[in-house]
């Protein structure tokens, strides 16, 4: 896929919809195309957070492995979502696994490249925070509701 094609895809991805065109071009400079087969891992817990993904097609299961219990899936994400947020904060390691449930087409973003650009251009860095914070807050709220086990037997 040519650079222009990739730039267009990043421009059109809903995750960066509110971002200024010039800033989206900065993101696409760190982007490449990616594809995963079902059950292939996009990232693994504990590994360096080098690359995160903008999903274009297919679903991904986010989970944590537990002894004798296998993989415990706590969320699925799909087209329009982002996989991988721990690239934002030290120690830049993934906190969970991300496994493709279907054939997944994604835009891979070089996290080290993007972190460098955020350091060089703080306006860009602030814009990145504005893109990621809503996702983080939504996932925090969802996690709280799931922990509360609202569907469980009332006390």
């Amino acid at each position: 896929m040519g650079i222009q094609g990739l730039e267009r895809i990043v421009m059109e991805h809903p995750f960066f919809a509110g971002l200024d065109e010039g800033l989206r071009a900065l993101v696409s400079g760190c982007a490449s195309n990616a594809r995963f087969e079902p059950d292939q891992y996009l990232l693994r817990e504990g590994e360096p957070a080098d690359q995160f993904y903008l999903l274009r097609q297919g679903r991904v299961a986010l989970g944590i492995r537990a002894p004798a219990r296998g993989e415990l899936v706590f969320q699925t994400v799909a087209e329009g979502d982002v996989v991988g947020v721990s690239w934002l904060i030290p120690p830049y390691r993934w906190a969970s696994d991300a496994r493709a449930l279907d054939v997944v087409h994604a835009i891979a973003i070089d996290a080290a490249c993007l972190r460098r650009k955020c350091e060089e251009d703080h306006d860009f860095g602030y814009a990145m925070m504005q893109c990621f914070l809503p996702t983080l807050i939504q996932r925090l709220h969802a996690a709280r509701l799931q922990i509360l086990d609202v569907y469980g037997t009332p006390a």
Partner: protein
Amino acid sequence: MVPRVVRVSRRAPDAPQVWTLELETEAPELDAFAPGQFNMLTVFGVGEVPISVSGNPAAPERLAHTIRAVGPVSTALVGLKPGDPLGLRGPFGRGWPMDAAEGRDLVIVAGGLGLAPLRPVLYQVVAQRARFGRLVLLYGTRSPDDILFRSEIEGWRSRLDLDIDITVDHASPSWRGHVGVVTKLIAGAAFDMSRTVAFVCGPEVMMRFAVAALRDAGVADGAIHLSMERNMKCAVGFCGHCQLGPAFVCRDGPVFRYDQVRDLFGVKEL
């Protein structure tokens, strides 16, 4: 106020601690109900509880109630066998406004056992499909094992004129469906807000966030309907146990239009 004696005709498990009892009565002409209504069921010598009717309104002779064993009465209810007697009063309450949904798209958001009072809606819409627009069912529950009415949902899913999405709070690797809160499905569901009516039932925490997501998606307050639950005792608007602000859930509900209860939602004393 006096229960009539009916008998269990069928008992089937639905999920862990959840059973559906079908009742046979000697006066089937009294069994007709509207989707969303409830009956008061008595286990003699134990007590009486309100249970939503979960069966097909077009087949009231199979008067179904889906019950989770929580307290002594519900535990005794799910322990009844075919042929066992129990008491029945009802049906009571204001049900789902099916007339308001006619000719419009209908989004049903159900959480956990909240799918039970909505199942009669699904039966009615499927039976009278041409009278309604798009039908979208968004169902959230604890885990795949807790999915209610699984074979029926699979059957409805195979239809081309229904959209059904299910999500669970947690799952093992063998589950290939959605994992996460049901409110996330609302944002992803494609429906025309201007012609949508929403029916919501589930734990009140879930309903609060589901309503917020529906409103964010552009559904009007007057087009959102909720089934509220409070501690109902008399079921006829006398005792006041189920009072929700100025309303009695047993008599004025359990289904309310959201704009009628919007200001009460945030009052924690209620």
